[in-house]
């Protein structure tokens, strides 16, 4: 029974992640693509973590996995937001010429 649950969780996680990759590739603008970056860090990681906890229980390995998934889930949205702001600035023509290190 435990193996079935782990296999099902891993299967759904892999499918969710591949759907995110597919969506990312098929979308045209960076803003649409960033939606899939956000989805990739909020669904599949928890399913893989659930599979891991189902298999191993609460051990030091699963504590590391919880830390990795928490980092992905909590800090990646700030990165997505910052990327969207940078893209908007580029689209608005707000980029500057980089400073010349010789001067």
């Amino acid at each position: 029974m435990e193996n079935v649950v782990v296999d099902a969780l891993l299967g759904i996680a892999v499918a969710a992640e591949l759907v995110c990759v597919l969506g990312f590739v098929l979308m045209r603008t960076v803003y649409d693509r960033l939606h899939y970056v956000g989805a990739a860090t909020s669904v599949a990681p928890f399913l893989i973590l659930a599979a891991l906890i189902t298999r191993e229980g609460l051990t030091s390995e699963t504590a590391d996995a919880i830390a990795a998934v928490a980092l992905l889930f909590l800090v990646n949205p700030t990165l997505v937001h910052a990327t969207a702001r940078a893209a908007r600035r580029l689209d608005a023509g707000g980029a500057e010429t980089p400073p010349d290190p010789e001067e």
Partner: protein, 83 residues
């Protein structure tokens, strides 16, 4: 082979289309692809760490998740200003 190594190996295939986007699209799209690659790499390393039953391997995805964020923020900082 077990379910975790199979899942990790299948997830590795996701790098190919993302690499193509990074090469052939705008720079900012490539940056978004790089961020997705970082999340994917974290999950691959989690799966392979469990698949190989090595507790030391579980430190790597934590570092990967942190490095993805730090590296992404540095890229975004300069992309937003100069590209």
């Amino acid at each position: 082979m077990n379910a975790f190594t199979i899942a990790g190996t299948i997830l590795l295939a996701g790098f190919l289309p993302l690499g193509a986007v990074a090469v052939f699209s705008r720079e900012i799209d490539g940056l978004a692809a790089l961020q997705l690659c970082g999340a994917l790499a974290t999950l691959v390393l989690l799966c392979l760490g469990e698949g190989f039953h090595r507790s030391a391997y579980f430190d790597v995805p934590v570092i990967t998740a942190a490095a993805t964020w730090i590296g992404g923020m540095i890229f975004v900082r300069f992309f937003g200003r100069y590209v």
